[in-house]
């Protein structure tokens, strides 16, 4: 800390930390301690001090070849007919220095302290304004997002309603196509040649497959919109399973796969939504066929147990990879991949089955070994508990 006259000559060294070794001497300009390259800046500093009556926190290099260059921070304030100049290695060094000098109650130090505080406070204000601006922008963006979110949700709902209606309306013409195909197939042998019969069979199968897709799509949108309502009536599970196994025979056709139905001798009545459970069984059996190797069997069984009934479907197919197992009941878990012989799959099947079964208060388990096959078990309770 130096006291300088109006020309910048050092009149008195008020305090010097010996470790700094600035080499400054009374009677010489304070600039003797400055590095030659920074001389102009030091003179600017002093000019600013004279012009404004204060200068704060100028970074100036001091020392030279011998002592090594050291960057100090210069501040200055008026003192009687001259100035007090303070150079510190670090801005924060001002605090203890000023504190110590304040106890001596030096007028110049009081002034310097005030300047220092003003400067810090000024900076803080600018920062606060900046933070305020950022916060305003965030708050405005948040409002925009909240609004867009509501609009998007409404748009999605509208689209889903539209798709639902469209898909629903496709059912009727598909029914007509499938129905006529069946009618033609039933004509006496001589009137249709085998090639034609084959074509008609494909039309019937394709329309049946499309109907299943439509049912899945409708079920999915019902599940997503939370409007899956079950129509529970006592139903013969064995009957449904037999029927579904029969109608799936078409998928088996080219692959030489046998479906073995292991069903109880008499009807097994349980309160379920027949259409939904048929959909579940259909999904599981057609999956089993899809992922089966050629010339294997798919075994479908229904057994009664204490709490209700168990439907199981076992295949000798490719199995399910462990990483897929973990998210099996999520939509699109298996991906939109295909079956062994390229049968289309949209990855919704097990997700929908699981939702329907749990809506019946039942549970669903899958055991699978890659390369060996998969067994799916559906347990349905006698008293279908929860209806969601």
């Amino acid at each position: 800390m130096l006291r300088c006259n109006g020309e910048g000559c050092v009149e008195q060294i008020l305090h010097e930390d010996p470790s700094l070794q600035t080499g400054v001497r009374p009677g010489q300009p304070f600039t003797t301690m400055v590095c030659p390259g920074n001389l102009a800046k030091a003179l600017d500093f002093f000019a600013a001090l004279r012009r404004d009556g204060h200068a704060f926190d100028w970074e100036i290099n001091t020392g030279g070849a011998a002592a090594g260059v050291q960057t100090l921070r210069f501040s200055g304030a008026p003192l009687a007919d001259g100035f007090v100049v303070v150079a510190v290695p670090d801005r924060h060094d001002l605090d203890p220095l000023i504190g110590a000098m304040l106890s001596i109650n030096n007028e110049a130090v009081t002034e310097l302290h005030r300047l220092y505080k003003d400067r810090i406070a000024q900076g803080a204000d600018e920062f606060l304004d900046g933070v305020s601006q950022i916060n305003n922008e965030l708050a405005t963006a948040q409002r925009e997002l909240a609004k867009a979110n509501v609009q998007l949700r409404a748009a999605i709902e509208a689209k889903e309603r539209l798709i639902g209606m469209l898909v629903h309306d496709l059912r009727t013409p598909l029914g007509v196509i499938g129905g006529y195909a069946e009618f033609l197939e039933g004509r006496p042998g001589g009137r249709i040649d085998p090639a034609e019969r084959n074509i008609i069979g494909q039309i019937r199968n394709a329309s049946r497959y499309m109907s299943a897709l439509i049912d899945n799509t409708l079920a999915q949108s019902a599940i997503q919109s939370g409007s899956l309502v079950l129509d529970l009536r006592p139903t013969d599970l064995a009957g449904i399973v037999r029927q579904v196994a029969d109608t799936n025979a078409f998928l088996v056709a080219g692959k030489n796969i046998r479906i073995i139905a292991d069903l109880p001798g008499e009807p097994l009545h349980i309160a379920v939504d027949a259409i939904r459970i048929e959909q579940v069984i259909n999904n599981i059996i057609s999956n089993a066929i899809k992922y089966s190797h050629e010339s294997t069997v798919v075994v479908v069984a229904v057994t009664a147990d204490a709490g209700g009934a168990v439907i199981s479907v076992r295949d000798r197919g490719i199995g399910i990879a462990p990483e897929v197992m973990a998210r099996l009941f999520q939509p699109y878990a298996r991906g939109a991949g295909g079956g062994i012989s390229g049968e289309p799959s949209y990855g919704l099947g097990l997700y929908i089955c699981h939702r329907i079964v749990t809506a019946h208060g039942g549970s669903m388990t899958v055991d699978s070994v890659v390369g060996e096959g998969t067994t799916v078990r559906v347990h349905l309770p006698t008293a279908a508990a929860s209806i969601r």
């Binding site: 204060h54 300047l115 204000d125 304004d129 305003n136 925009e144 409404a154």
Partner: protein, 346 residues
């Protein structure tokens, strides 16, 4: 903006220097009282006087300057600055304007003179903005206490609980947030809290308003489209946000641009959205000429678009609305909804 007002703004620095020089000449003991740095502060203060004076002159609104002086009086008293110094700076300002301002000096000086004459009668402190007996008054008090204690979660809970119990959004805005925030301003002005408290109270309130969005945004058709925004340079944005939100609740499709929106962007969006109304907020009086400019620019591009204005200075002098060339103003967000409806029905 009038030529005199322009001149005042342009020469603000020199005029302020001249006023302070005159003031110090007349009273040399000020040097001792305010110390070596005090003079600079005085110049800053007078520059601030001139900002408000320019707007008062431009809008032919002595009230704007008188209200400013009344505001400054409370501020100064609480900072420990003598009111007589404020009075003397007004006298010096009056004198300097008469000498240094060609032409328009009369208007400016008479506005200053009027404020000077009223200064003694102006109150030295302000009553609280929170009245316990008012609707929502008790909640406003608790809300403010929570914010001043730095507890925004408690503040949020207080509000959310009431909303769940049936308090409407406009009630929360106008009976709780508005008086609480204005009280924050009063406490700052009375030197009881810092700017940091003010920032915290604002940020917390903005966050709590965002939590209320599920109650505000609903799907469905909207009857009109409005762009709500603050004038360029403005940092105060909660008032404008409230206006936007209340219009949204009233079935408007609102687009809120927030604080500090440049005119170009506002006009582009007005076109893009085919807006039926522009709602602009200004809080700092010094921003009124920007608002006048914005209104001028919008009129040039979209001649028939109704423009609604509001904010702190309009509550001091409602005649500003027509002087600035706007079509309507409102004192708060609830009144804004009614005026907005009327403007688009024309």
């Amino acid at each position: 903006m009038s030529a005199t007002a322009d001149l005042i703004l342009e020469r603000r620095k020199d005029l302020a220097e001249a006023v302070v020089t005159l003031q110090y000449d007349r009273r040399p003991q000020l040097v001792a009282r305010y110390g070596p740095s005090g003079r600079g502060k005085c110049v800053e203060d007078v520059q601030y006087h001139l900002l408000f004076l320019a707007e008062a002159v431009a809008n032919d609104s002595p009230a704007l300057f008188c209200e400013y002086v009344a505001w400054a009086k409370v501020l100064f008293i609480n900072l420990g600055i003598a009111v007589e110094d404020l009075a003397e700076s007004l006298v010096a300002l009056d004198d300097v304007l008469r000498i240094r301002l060609p032409g328009g000096a009369e208007i400016a000086a008479s506005i200053v003179g009027q404020a000077r004459a009223e200064l003694d009668k102006m109150p030295g402190d302000l009553p609280s903005f929170i009245r316990q007996e008012a609707a929502g008054g008790e909640l406003a008090r608790l809300y403010l206490d929570a914010l001043m204690a730095g507890d925004r979660h408690k503040a949020s809970r207080l509000v959310m609980d009431k909303v769940t119990a049936g308090m409407t959004i406009p009630e929360v805005y106008l009976d709780v947030f508005q008086p609480a925030l204005r009280e924050v301003g009063r406490l700052w002005q009375m030197n009881r809290i810092t700017v940091a408290h003010e920032h915290f109270a604002t940020a917390a309130t903005q966050a709590i308003m965002a939590q209320l969005y599920p109650h505000i945004f609903k799907a469905g058709t909207k009857h009109h489209t409005v762009i709500a925004t603050c004038v360029g340079g403005e940092l105060h944005e909660i008032g404008a946000r409230m206006v936007g939100d209340c219009l949204e609740l009233d079935g408007w499709d609102t687009h809120y641009l927030g604080a500090n929106s440049p005119a170009k962007g506002i006009i582009r969006l007005l076109r893009e959205r085919q807006a039926d109304l522009l709602a602009v907020s200004a809080t700092l009086t010094a921003h009124l000429h920007q608002l006048a400019d914005l209104i001028g620019e919008v009129r040039q591009e979209l001649e028939h678009l109704p423009i609604l204005v509001g904010g702190y200075p309009f509550n001091l002098d409602p005649s500003l609305c027509s002087k600035l060339g706007a079509d309507g103003w409102a004192a708060d967000a609830a009144a804004a909804v009614a005026v907005a409806r009327r403007l688009v029905a024309r």
